[in-house]
Symmetry: C2
């Protein structure tokens, strides 16, 4: 199926061509095309052919404290972040623990959708302590449609510190499936992170659900026993990716 996942916007080959190319039955090809349509990856346009809808996955290094937008858009703007809602709330025990604040503290909840070339990549729910982030609720001049690292850094007036990350996965629920345009049950790559100030104070706790067909995390695990190799500087983790990013 590699031929269908190139990120191209061209029509994909006809059923007959695919049957010859892969040496499989028409039934198998139809089943695969049906599945890809169901997942929103291809679209059949009457009289024109079948087109690849979604871009291929982007490899995103799990590296410095920064996010996909900063990583990808530094070369060319392909990632857009749209803040869907912000609201004040009191936090639960789970969030309070992550943010190291008392239960029932005031927090700001911020929901965002990230798109890659217009296609949904991930949804993020962020919890921010009211102090100093309630300004988000009040100040209409603050641009919420951008990287949380940039937003948070602007509000606290200094660079952010380290980020604790947990990577997991889950099956899409109805709401998330709708936002990401996938069927309910689609496997989603989940990241839960605590972004900290340089002194270690938690500034944000967030949970993201990402389409792994649009986003793949990469990392270089360094060897402790062996000397660093010259050909692999820290951070050079985008090894097999689209050379354009």
């Amino acid at each position: 199926m590699e031929v269908l996942r190139t990120g191209s916007r061209d029509a994909i080959p006809s059923e007959d061509t695919l049957i010859k190319k892969f040496g499989v039955s028409r039934g198998v090809i139809r089943e695969v095309l049906h599945l890809l349509r169901e997942q929103g990856l291809i679209e059949r346009v009457r009289g024109a052919g079948t087109f690849v809808l979604a871009p291929g996955p982007i490899l995103h290094p799990v590296d410095e404290s920064r996010d996909l937008a900063q990583d990808v858009n530094s070369v060319a703007p392909r990632i857009a972040i749209r803040c869907r809602a912000v609201s004040p709330q009191t936090c639960t025990a789970f969030t309070a623990d992550k943010l190291a604040v008392p239960v029932d503290s005031s927090v700001v909840i911020m929901e965002s959708l990230t798109t890659l070339d217009g296609y949904p990549v991930s949804v993020r729910t962020a919890f921010l302590p009211a102090e100093p982030f309630s300004v988000i609720l009040d100040d209409p001049h603050i641009d919420l449609h951008r990287s949380p690292y940039e937003l948070i850094s602007q509000i606290i007036g200094q660079p952010v510190g380290d980020t604790d990350l947990e990577i997991s996965c889950s099956n899409a629920d109805a709401l998330t499936a709708d936002l990401l345009r996938v069927p309910v049950g689609f496997a989603l790559l989940d990241t839960s992170r605590v972004l900290r100030a340089v002194d270690g104070t938690p500034l944000e706790f967030s949970i993201s659900h990402a389409r792994a067909d649009h986003l793949v995390f990469t990392h270089v695990m360094k060897s402790s026993a062996a000397p660093a190799r010259a050909s692999s500087p820290a951070g050079a983790t985008v090894r097999y990716g689209d050379p354009s990013i």
Copy 2:
């Protein structure tokens, strides 16, 4: 549902107790219990009650070149690796690219199942170049039921170097679902890695599918702009885990 995910082997509370505790209807409780049984997480024993089957998730740092067995078992042996099959094969273009060998080179394919306290955590398919790894096929004295880092290090006679990691997810196919005791379609955390010698030569390419309800990856993303904070030494990524590991 936190109460059901503690890793305890005790009976879980009765339906009536759960209804009171969570303030939800009997229908909701039964639906959740049914789902957990389907996922192999709990088991009803006639006349005795319902028991939590699976251990809670282990947090595994995405850090040095080492795997879950080395990470967890250094404190207490909870992880077991069982090699299910080894076989010689010629490699495809995809694998050849990862291993930096010519297409149709000889490789050894090694399939392993990793368990946590007896419960399946992940399945791994590893591709190793025949030179020097065909010894795995021939020498009955080599212990295949252990960490690939240890195995590979022994065969090459020196410590391994860096590992390139890609983290993604997928819905379980029938075979993987059967091995991991989950329903078909269950969301699985996938890792694809290239383990290298200290000079950068690829030694192993492997693909793993893990149950994210048993295994969660963690990482500290360091800040580039901010100074390192004293309270977060590199590698101290197991922040919220079971204190016994």
